[in-house]
Amino acid sequence: MLFNSLSFVLFLIIVLTLYYSKLFKWTGKKRMLLLSSYIFYGMWNPPLVILLWISTIVDWTAGKRLAVEDNQKKRKMWLLLSMFVNLGFLAFFKYGDFLLENFVVVMNSIGIDFQAKPMDIILPMGISFYTFQTMSYTIDMYKRKIEPARTFLDFALYVTFFPQLVAGPIVRAKDLITQFYEEKKATTNQFIWGLFLLTIGLFQKVVMADTLLAGTSDAVFGSSKLLHGVDAWVGTIAFSGQIFFDFAGYSTCAIGIALMLGIILPDNFRYPYASLGFSDLWKRWHISLSSWLKDYLYIPLGGNRHGITRMYVALMLTMLIGGLWHGAAWTFMVWGGLHGTYLILERLQRKYLPFKITKWNGIFLAFITFSCVNITWVFFRAREFETAWNMIKSMFYMQTDGVKILDTFTIIKVTTVIAIMFLCHWVMRNTSMKDVSLKTSPYVLGVVWAIMTFLIIIAQGSGEQFIYFQF
C-alpha cells in the first residue's frame, strides 16, 4: 500500500479509529496494529507476508536464545542463523539474478559456454529494510547491548510496524520495541503535528518529486540520444531533487503517521544537500542506514582502530556494500565506490590541506559537495554504464553536438526548484522544522499547510511508487 493512495487514506482512518476507540486495551491495540501492518504489506503481494513471518520467528527465537545462552560457540551459531536467513533472503530475492548473470559472464570469459535463463524473481517490497532492522536486533542481542523484547507481540510489531516497514527509517530495537511496552496515545498537539508531517511528506512526494521533477529526470535518463550538456545537468539535478523529495517524503510520512499513534520514530534526513563535505552528508542523508552500516559493518571491519590504510579499506568496503544494498547492479557499486573515494579524499584533505569552515566559505563548500553528489547520482539513476558514461561526457561538455530535449520552461522550472531546495537546506541546516514552526505564527503555518494540501489535491498524482520501495 502506498502512502500517496486512496486505499491508504481509508486504511489510516480505520486504523486510527480503532486505535483511539475504547474497543481494545493496549495489548489488543498492538494486535490490531500488527494485523493492520500485515494487511498493509499483504495488499501488495499476500504470499510474501510469509517472508516477514519467517524473519520475525527466526530473529525472535535467536534473540530469546541469545538472552539466556552463555556458551560463546552456541551464541555465535544463533547469530549466524539469523544472518543466514536474513541475508539469504536478500541474496535470493534481490541478488539472485544479478549473481547468476555475473556467473554466466565469468564462465563465458574463461571459455565455458554456459547460458542460464533469468530466474525473474519478484523483489519483495522493502526486504532490504526489514531484514536490516531484524538483524540489528539479533546483533545487538549478541553483543548484549539490549534486553530481549518482552513479548513476541512487541517483537513482531517492531519488525512489521507499518509506517516504516517498507522504506524505513530502519529503527533500532532499543528505540522502538521499548515504546510498545507502555500504552501510547498521541497528545492533540502530537496528533496534529503528525498530520502536518504526513502532509509535508506527501507534498514532497506528490508535488515536488512526481509533478515537478520526475518527468525531467525520466526524459533525460530515458533518452537514447547523446544529450547537450545543459540537458544532462538539468536531468541530473532533477533526479537529485526527485530522489531526495521522494525518499525524505516517505520518511516524513512515516514519522508523521507513527506520531499520530503516539510513537516516535527517529529522523532520517537532516537537510543533506547543505552538507559540508561527505562525512557530514552521511550524517544527514538516510541517517538510519548510514548509522546501521557504521555500527554493523564499518566498525566490525576495524573502523579507524587499525591504522589509516585499514580504515580506508573499511570505508571503501562499507560504501561499496552500501551501494549494493540499493540495488543489484554494478552501477550502484560505482555509486558507492565514488562516495567511498570522496570520503577518503576528504580525510586526506583534512590531514594535508586543513582549512577552517566559516560562514563565508560554508555555502560555497556546501555547493561543491552538492555538485559532487550530483555526479554520483548519474550512476545511481542510469540503468546501464553506457547511459551513465554518455551523461558524464555530456555534463563535462565532451559532447559538443548533443541533442537538446528539454524546453526552456522545464530548464527554468527545474533549476529554480533545485536552487530553492539547496538554499532551504542551507538555511535549515542547523535548525529543525519544529524549531522554525515554533517561531512562526500559527495562522501563517496554517496557510502554508493549506497551500501544500491544495497543491497535493490538484497534482492528484497517479499513485507512483516511492523509489526506495525497490531497494
Binding site: 481509508l10 496534529i192 526552456t408 496554517g446 499547510w449
Partner: protein
C-alpha cells in the same frame, strides 16, 4: 504551539481553494468524467476470465473503441460485450494475451486500423508498448491498486478536478498538465507536436463516445485532425509480414480452441482516409489479411449503409453514427451467421 488554530486555518483555506478550483473549471465548461486508464481496462480484462462461448470481446485501437458502442451492442443483442480496445494501440498484444492466457473461446472482434495493426511487433514501439503495458498491469496489479481504483471511481464521476488522465491530454487540469502548457520556447529546431485534446468520454463498462464538441466545433475537430496528420507523417513504414505472421499464430490457436474471430474495418474519412489509401492500400493490407485469416470480415466500404459515414475528425464516428454503425454491424453479422441470433 497553537496547532489547533493552524489546523483550523489549513482546513478552511483548503476547502475554499478546492471548491473554488472545482467551480472555476466547471464554469469553463468542463464536466466530471472517468479517465480512460489501465485500471479501468484491467477491470474489463478480468471479465474475460469468466466469459463463455456466448460472450463477445472487442479488440482493436481507438476506432473499434469509439465506433463499436457497448451500450448499443447490449441493446441490440441483450449481452454486454467486453471492450478491450485501446487508443493508439495495436490489437495484437491483447489478442495474444487472451489467446495464450485464457480459455476464452467465444467471439473476438478485432478492429483493424491498418496503420496500427500492421505497424510493428517491436516491444518498445509505441503502438505495442501501450497495450502491452495494460496487459502487464492486469497481470501484476496488486490488491491495493484494485482498491485504489474502486475508491477513485466515485471521485472521478463527481469531481472535475480529478482529471489526470494517463493519456496526458493538453486540456487536463492536474498540476503537471497545467505546467506542461507553459511554453517559453523550444531550444531545438524540431517542430513541437500539435496540442492533443481529449475528444471522448468513457463510462463503465468502457463505453467510449465522442464528445459532442468534436462534432459541433470544427476548429476543435481540426486540432484533432492536425494530430492525426502529424502522426501519419512521422510514422515509420508498416511491418506487414511480421505483424501478419504474429497475428496468424494466435488466430490459428484461437480457432483451434473453437473461438470465433471476426475482423472489422471501421470507417475513416477525409485526409486520413486518403493517407491510408496511399500508405496502406486495402489490397495489400486488409484484403491480404482477410485472405490468410479466412474468417468473417467486414470492411466499411463494402456496405452501402457505412461507406458514406463521415468522421468529424477524420478517424472516429460521432456518437450517433457509432450507434448506427454498431446496430447495423450487428444486423449484418447476424444475417451473415457471424453472430448467433
Amino acid at each position: 504551539m497553537k496547532l489547533k488554530q493552524t489546523l483550523t486555518v489549513a482546513i478552511i483555506i483548503t476547502l475554499i481553494a478546492t471548491i473554488s478550483w472545482e467551480a472555476y473549471w466547471r464554469s469553463q465548461g468542463l464536466y466530471p468524467t472517468l479517465n480512460d486508464e489501465k485500471a479501468l481496462w484491467a477491470m474489463a480484462r478480468a471479465n474475460v476470465e469468466k466469459a463463455d462461448k456466448d460472450d463477445v470481446v472487442i479488440l482493436g485501437s481507438s476506432r473499434a473503441y469509439f465506433d463499436i458502442q457497448v451500450e448499443q451492442w447490449e441493446k441490440s443483442t441483450g449481452k454486454t460485450p467486453i471492450q478491450l480496445s485501446s487508443t493508439g494501440s495495436s490489437p495484437l498484444p491483447t489478442f495474444h494475451d487472451i489467446v495464450n492466457n485464457t480459455n476464452f473461446n467465444g467471439t473476438a472482434i478485432v478492429g483493424v486500423t491498418p496503420g496500427l495493426l500492421f505497424s510493428t511487433t517491436y516491444p518498445k514501439a509505441f503502438p505495442w508498448e501501450r497495450p502491452q503495458s495494460k496487459v502487464d498491469f492486469y497481470h501484476d496489479r496488486t490488491y491495493a491498486q484494485r482498491l485504489n481504483y474502486l475508491l477513485s471511481i466515485p471521485l472521478q464521476k463527481n469531481l472535475v478536478l480529478m482529471s489526470a488522465d494517463e493519456e496526458e491530454w493538453n486540456d487536463d487540469i492536474d498540476l503537471k498538465a497545467l505546467l506542461k502548457r507553459v511554453n517559453w520556447g523550444a531550444r531545438d529546431t524540431m517542430p513541437p507536436p500539435p496540442p492533443f485534446y481529449n475528444f471522448g468520454d468513457v463510462s463503465i463498462p468502457r463505453n467510449m463516445s465522442m464528445m459532442p464538441r468534436t462534432v459541433t466545433d470544427t476548429a476543435f475537430a481540426k486540432s484533432i485532425i492536425d494530430v492525426w496528420h502529424f502522426f501519419g507523417k512521422g510514422a515509420p513504414p508498416p511491418d506487414k509480414d511480421a505483424t501478419t505472421e504474429f497475428f496468424m499464430k494466435d488466430v490459428e490457436k484461437f480457432k483451434a480452441k473453437g473461438g470465433n474471430l471476426i475482423l472489422v474495418r471501421p470507417p475513416s474519412s477525409g485526409g486520413v482516409r486518403m493517407g491510408e489509401k496511399m500508405g496502406l492500400p486495402r489490397e495489400r493490407f486488409w484484403d491480404s489479411l482477410v485472405k490468410v485469416a479466412n474468417v468473417k470480415s467486414y470492411h466499411f466500404e463494402d456496405y452501402d449503409q457505412f461507406k458514406d459515414l463521415v468522421c468529424p475528425e477524420e478517424s472516429h464516428l460521432s456518437l450517433n453514427d457509432a450507434n448506427f454503425f454498431t446496430a447495423e454491424l450487428i444486423k449484418t453479422m447476424k444475417a451473415d451467421g457471424a453472430l448467433a441470433n
